[in-house]
């Protein structure tokens, strides 16, 4: 629940900026599904249910300095770090101009060096040691940057999670690990993935700080990340944050979640949707009104329409480019 002492709570502009990004992420995601179901794009993997924690966390970072290593659901993180709506649709359509991979990778394999969004792959959890590596490098160079890496709770059972967090613990690295616990790894429910009560308790085994937050509560997430960020910059080392919410969509456009969970369960979880909750909170605070909200919605709709059109019309990379960039031009010296 929102703690009345949080400073952010009274910062109307920031709260509205957060809301805008959350809403944008949700609306982009919804459009992706429409495009997928109508046959325009072959694949979608969603952020729905996790936008709130993603945006809230991102706002607690320094977007001019920090490095982010997002996983495939982190549309919110990359929006905040500067990827444009057009660029997001370009990657969904796999067009040559896509800054993430030039259409080489599947959608949601984010990358954009100029915004310090680090390229990711499909095998889960490999980004966790990378994040430790960025933090190690920043520390070696006295660069006051933090690395922020996310993963699903299912992915926290990979060996790379253990090895990456332990390395960060031993070397007291400025890195924030955020587990987005949406209670499923595809069809496997939480209790078949782990037997522990809290993923965040794993922090103790690495000698780092661990904290669990309600991922549907923007301000709670923001404060946890903010504190972790300060600790990182103060040389106090890494933090493991577990943010709990729920995956509101099927795993991806290839999945049928009704084979392993019930409609009732999903409906019930939908009623806790953090985006709705945040919106209501803004209404209660008087920061958001129907008019502001409607304007926002139509502005976003326009932005998405434009981006969709642009991406749809953009060309694929030429087939002759298939052999490019296996190695750099400069070989050895």
């Amino acid at each position: 629940m929102v703690n009345q002492n949080y400073a952010l709570e009274n910062d109307k502009d920031t709260l509205l900026a957060m809301y805008r990004e959350m809403l944008l992420a949700r609306r982009i995601d919804e459009r992706m599904w429409l495009l997928n179901r109508s046959g325009s794009i072959p694949f979608v993997v969603s952020c729905q249910g996790q936008e709130v924690m993603q945006i809230a966390a991102s706002f607690a970072l320094n977007k001019e300095r920090d490095y982010v290593l997002p996983y495939y659901r982190d549309l919110g993180v990359v929006i905040h770090f500067g990827m444009t709506t057009r660029e997001i649709f370009l990657q969904a359509y796999a067009k040559g101009e896509d800054p993430n991979s030039g259409g080489r990778q599947m959608p949601s394999h984010f990358s954009q060096k100029k915004n310090r969004i680090v390229t990711g792959s499909s095998p889960v959890t490999t980004q966790v040691p990378h994040a430790a590596g960025f933090a190690l490098a920043a520390k070696m160079e006295n660069n006051p940057a933090v690395s922020f890496v996310t993963l699903g709770e299912g992915s926290s059972n990979q060996g790379d999670f253990h090895e990456g967090l332990n390395f960060a613990g031993v070397h007291k690295l400025p890195v924030i690990f955020m587990v987005e616990n949406n209670k499923y790894a595809i069809s496997v429910p939480l209790n078949k993935q782990v037997a522990c009560e809290n993923i965040s308790d794993r922090a103790i085994g690495y000698g780092i700080k661990g904290i669990k937050v309600d991922g549907n509560e923007a301000i709670e997430v923001y404060e946890a990340v903010k504190e972790a960020h300060e600790r990182a910059l103060n040389g106090e080392g890494a933090t493991l944050i577990e943010a709990v919410s729920y995956r509101l969509t099927p795993h991806s456009s290839d999945d049928d979640d009704m084979t392993y969970r019930t409609k009732d369960e999903v409906t019930n979880e939908k009623s806790k949707d953090g985006l709705e909750r945040f919106k209501n909170f803004l209404f209660e605070k008087g920061y958001l009104t129907e008019t502001i909200n409607d304007d926002l919605e139509s502005e976003i709709k326009k932005e998405i329409n434009d981006a969709t059109e642009y991406a749809e019309d953009a060309p694929y990379a030429d087939v002759s480019t298939i052999n490019n960039y296996v190695y750099g031009e400069k070989g050895d010296h």
């Binding site: 796999a94 499909s122 095998p123």
Partner: protein, 327 residues
């Protein structure tokens, strides 16, 4: 006989082996209620229960490693890697452990595990859901690698793999899952591991290949027959260790050899096939050994035109056979 798809043949082989031997069990990600993301284990959870159809945590090294432990105990685990691309975290368990257990214990212990994994492209899977990974493992004595090309072979080879007393990597082409259908006997049968299969006789050009490329080669051969070019097709079936004698015989027969793989060329298993031929029947050759393979890039891109450019297809094979025939 019922007509089964390639994936249905996987499913049927698993079901029958589990019925016949209660030491057989499956483990992997989403193999339970979900029946696997490709439905390879569909229905097994209901029939055999969660004790024999085990949804594991998302951790491939444990899937392999726990399976290896159970296999040493005396069980017959069938471990699923959700995509072959995700077998990489399990390489240590497969190479350092499964492949070496019999040898290092001087035959005291053995490790009868089967590891299934869908490989291959042409499914909009991009870099990490399209790879051919057989070459990574095709240098490890103690391990067998099977790559079936048809529903009939799938059923017979998967049963043979499960009954084999040594570790078998069983690689299924995911594009073949629903593309390939044929009549598959209801009764129990196995197809021998370690033997290549002549799927077509011909005396102009020999094509040696495996997996989905066998299908494309058959299409090409049928077309070329109308031009009077007769193609011999050898399906390797087991890509490690290779069936050397059958390869040598097939190459010698026509003297013109085309090797085809969907993998990128350098370091792929058809290099070994070529080496075997030039070691044993170089002077029977009437043309250089030609290799048709993917480009030398890490894996195939997602964008449809680029994916298509990467993939082997019947047209590319047809052209390569024609070139050789005319050599």
């Amino acid at each position: 006989m019922a007509v089964l798809t390639y994936i249905q043949a996987v499913n049927q082989a698993l079901k029958e082996e589990m019925e016949q031997n209660e030491k057989v069990f499956v483990l992997g990600e989403d193999v339970g209620k979900r029946g696997g993301v490709f439905l390879a284990t569909s229905g097994l959870y209901d029939q055999f229960g969660e004790k024999r159809v085990i949804d594991t945590p998302l951790a491939e090294s444990a899937i392999a490693g726990v399976g290896i432990g159970a296999a040493m105990y005396g069980m017959r685990p069938v471990a699923e890697m959700q995509f072959a691309d995700f077998i990489m975290p399990a390489v240590n368990q497969i190479i350092s452990e499964a492949a070496r257990i019999r040898y290092r214990s001087n035959n005291d212990w053995n490790c009868p595990i089967t590891i299934r994994a869908p490989y291959g492209g042409g499914v909009h899977g991009a870099l990490y859901h399209s790879q051919s990974i057989e070459a990574i493992f095709a240098n490890q004595p103690g391990l067998k690698i099977v790559m079936p090309s048809s529903p009939y072979d799938v059923k017979g080879l998967l049963k043979a793999a499960i009954r084999d007393d040594d570790p078998v990597l069983f690689l299924e082409h995911k594009r073949a899952y629903r593309l390939l259908k044929e009549e598959v006997p209801e009764e129990d049968y196995t197809v021998p591991i370690g033997k290549a299969n002549t799927v077509r006789e011909g005396d102009d050009v020999t094509v040696i290949t495996y997996g989905l490329c066998v299908h494309f080669t058959k299409q090409a051969a049928e077309k070329l027959e109308q031009e009077g070019i007769n193609t011999e097709i050898l399906d390797l079936r087991t890509v490690y260790p290779l069936d050397q004698q059958t390869i040598i015989d097939a190459a010698s027969k026509t003297g013109k050899v085309l090797l085809v793989t969907e993998d990128n060329k350098e370091g792929s298993i058809i290099g070994e096939v070529s080496a075997i031929i030039s070691e044993h029947c170089l002077f029977d050759l009437d043309a250089p050994i030609h290799r048709l393979a993917g480009p030398e890039v890490p894996a195939m891109p997602y964008a449809p035109p680029l994916e298509k450019e990467f993939m082997i297809n019947a047209e590319k094979i047809e052209q390569a056979i024609r070139d050789l025939a005319e050599f």
